[in-house]
């Protein structure tokens, strides 16, 4: 049972890193629906780099680099060219889905390195996650940089007038978001489940995207959501621990996705929206300038 808890906490860091990056993106007004693609690319390149160099650090660096690169590419399309952000995000996802399947295939199988150790019984990423959530919250809500980010997402015109370079802020945020998505993929492929398989995420990125909406763009609520979701996810992988013999294991695997839809519907219901739904960045998904 304790092991299940430790596992689900590690799983929660994957959701969290990806979603936290996306949260910062969205706070600055940029929507990246290609989160899953960034995670796939980061995870795959991290796996290959770590296996070739037999060095975890290089693996994680590769993930951060490719995440940043793809994030910036999304920025170029969304900010500089003022293109449709959904088209670009979907493009990044399908591009990554296709290319990682091809590039990673020769590496299919276990990583073959000694597992990353634990610290006080937990994956080191759990501590990093809490630290990052705290830092991000502080940065977003207690500093001038955070104010600049949030104003770029709420009212870019007003931000620009008050001397904030909206384009630069948004670029910074999408690149940072991309790095965190890459990191999330690497935590999956190097630590949580170090066995490469094509399309190994199977929806983790999209669930992370949904978590950002659940969190109402608040890092602490995101932490809570990611933890709860990861526990549910872990349970769906090994339901026999709690409810042996009930339902097929395949049905259990489908459950977290079904619950995601139900929660999405609930938080979109009118009574919820009027009480809670004011947090959405006003200019989310809208290009600025021109």
């Amino acid at each position: 049972m304790l092991e299940l808890l430790a596992r689900s906490l590690e799983a929660s860091t994957i959701f969290l890193f990806a979603a936290l990056g996306e949260l910062v993106d969205q706070r600055a007004g940029v929507l990246n629906v290609g989160l899953e693609g960034l995670m796939l690319s980061g995870g795959t390149l991290a796996f290959i780099a770590a296996q070739l160099t037999r060095d975890y650090l290089l693996g994680f660096l590769a993930a951060l680099a490719v995440g940043a690169l793809l994030g910036a590419a999304h920025g170029f399309f969304a900010i500089t060219l003022r293109g449709d952000q959904v088209v670009s995000g979907m493009g990044l996802w399908i591009l990554s889905f296709g290319l990682t399947t091809y590039i990673g295939n020769p590496y299919t199988g276990p990583l073959g390195l000694e597992r990353i150790g634990t610290w006080l019984g937990l994956s080191p990423f759990v501590y990093l996650a809490v630290l990052l959530v705290g830092t991000t919250w502080f940065l977003l809500f207690r500093t001038g940089v955070g104010l600049a980010i949030r104003s770029a997402g709420e009212h870019p015109g007003a931000a620009e007038v008050s001397g904030i370079n909206v384009g630069a802020v948004r670029y910074l945020c999408v690149t940072f978001g991309g790095m965190l998505a890459g990191l999330a993929g690497a935590v999956y492929s190097l630590s949580y489940n170090p066995v490469w398989n094509y399309n190994f995420l199977m929806g983790w990125g999209f669930v992370s995207l949904a978590l950002v909406f659940f969190s109402m763009w608040n890092p602490w609520l995101l932490l809570a959501g990611a933890t709860l979701f990861a526990a549910m996810w872990q349970l769906s992988l090994s339901p026999e621990l709690v409810l042996p013999g009930i339902l097929s294991r395949y049905i259990w695997r489908a459950l977290p996705f079904a619950i995601t839809i139900v929660i999405l519907a609930l938080i979109s219901a009118p009574w919820f929206r009027t009480r809670w739904g004011l947090a959405k960045p006003e200019a989310l998904g809208r290009p600025y300038g021109g």
Binding site: V33, F77, L81, G83, D84, V86, V87, S88, M90, G91, I94, L95, S96, F97, G98, L99, T101, Y102, I103, N105, P106, Y198, N199, M202, G203, F206, V207, L209, A210, F213, S248, Y250, I251, R253, A254, F257, A258, T260, I261, L264, A265, S268, A269, G290
Partner: protein, 381 residues
């Protein structure tokens, strides 16, 4: 950007001709193919030889071409499943789930009549085939309606909902056909039961009737969007939902409608691949591959710029390429996944071409640096 005496800027394109659209599509595909030749570098005989093998199998070989046509019908139906909601500005990326739902609903008909034990038709077989196809269509439509309903009533992001449905139905199919599931084959090899031969969809020169539906739908869809009030409403909603609302277009029913129509095509695609293509006639253990292939529908629709008829040659080309790539893999000892890589590259070149389509480079003579203002003293002197 300043280049010599000229200033190069990128500006939004104000007008665009259909020819321009076709050209951008062709350029996107050609660039993707050129980029893909990198994938073929490890091939025996080099990339050009590899392309020759791919095209020769997909389009010049009798069996290969037939397989290409079967796959093209599938891709085309998936394309329409994406295209109809897309014209209304909505993203249906739940193509795999609708394909699975269509397949499951179609196979529910023989399953209810005995499944693997069904050896003699209880009623006219032709009627049963029709019921299966309709069940597939309804299955896909009902599933997609969930996304449309949530979007229309609660404004829930349809990308997330349809993607979640993909995962749910992926596992649901696993449950149905594996480990003692209700649709498992009699031999229990992790695949669905095979259809009895009297339930095979009618063939014409080796091509199932679904081909007629796919090509007919291409023409009808273009007519719908170009000439009918409903098509106008869908397009208007896609361009600006708020303005469309003031124009009397009901934002509560339109998303549901486009998702139902799109899902119907997705369901038909599922019926087609699992119940009408010769040599399959079951939900195979590798159904996930067909789900992945459905994503080609997204690119097809995007590259064809929402035109049903325009999607026909694109689907045919992609079908041949993905199929030929699989063959080349074995024959030329290429790594797995060329067909997936191609999917990714096409998406990338599409996004790039999309920019080219919307923007144009403009050259202007750079303004001379302004002459320094003449000082008052000098003027007076």
């Amino acid at each position: 950007m300043r280049v010599g005496p000229y200033l190069l800027t990128v500006e939004p394109r104000r007008t665009s001709s259909p020819l321009h659209g076709v050209l951008t599509a062709v350029v996107a595909i050609v660039v993707a193919l050129v980029l893909s030749s990198v994938l073929f570098l490890p091939a025996e005989g080099g990339p050009l030889h590899a392309y020759r093998v791919v095209f020769a199998y997909a389009f010049a070989d009798r069996y290969g071409f037939l397989a290409t046509v079967h796959r093209a019908i599938y891709l085309l139906l998936c394309t329409f499943a994406f295209l109809v909601p897309f014209r209304a500005g909505l993203w249906n990326i739940g193509l795999p789930s609708q394909v699975y739902a269509g397949g499951l609903a179609a196979f529910a008909v023989p399953a209810l009549l005995g499944g693997p034990d069904l050896t003699t038709p209880p009623v006219a077989p032709g009627l049963l085939v029709l019921v299966m196809a309709v069940a597939g269509v309804v299955g896909g439509a009902v599933l997609a309606a969930v996304a449309g309903l949530l979007r229309a009533r609660l404004n829930v992001n349809e990308i997330l909902v349809t993607m979640m449905l993909n995962s749910i139905f992926f596992w649901l199919v696993a449950y149905m056909i594996k480990e003692g599931g209700p649709f498992m084959s009699a031999t229990g090899e992790g695949e669905g039961f095979s259809l009895p031969s009297f339930l095979y969809a009618p063939l014409w020169a080796g091509v199932p009737v679904t081909a007629l539906l796919a090509v007919g739908a291409a023409v009808l869809l273009d007519g719908l969007f170009a000439r009918t009030a409903l098509g106008y409403r869908i397009r208007a909603f896609g361009l600006n939902p708020q303005a469309a609302r003031y124009g009397g277009i009901d934002p509560l029913t339109l998303p549901i409608l486009v998702f139902v129509v799109g899902g119907a095509f997705g369901g038909l695609a599922g019926y087609h691949y699992f119940a009408a293509v010769p040599g399959v006639y079951k939900i195979p253990g590798n159904y996930g591959y067909y789900g992945d292939l459905a994503f080609y529908g997204i690119i097809c629709a995007l590259i064809a710029r929402g035109s049903g008829v325009g999607a026909v040659p694109v689907a045919l080309l992609f079908a041949g390429l993905s199929l030929g790539a699989r063959l080349a893999q074995g024959q030329l000892h290429l790594p797995f996944g060329v067909d997936y890589a191609l999917l990714g590259l096409l998406m990338m070149t599409f996004v790039a071409s999309h920019v080219l389509y919307q923007y144009q480079p403009v050259w202007r003579p750079a303004a001379e640096p302004a002459a320094p203002p003449v000082s008052a003293d000098a003027a007076e002197g």
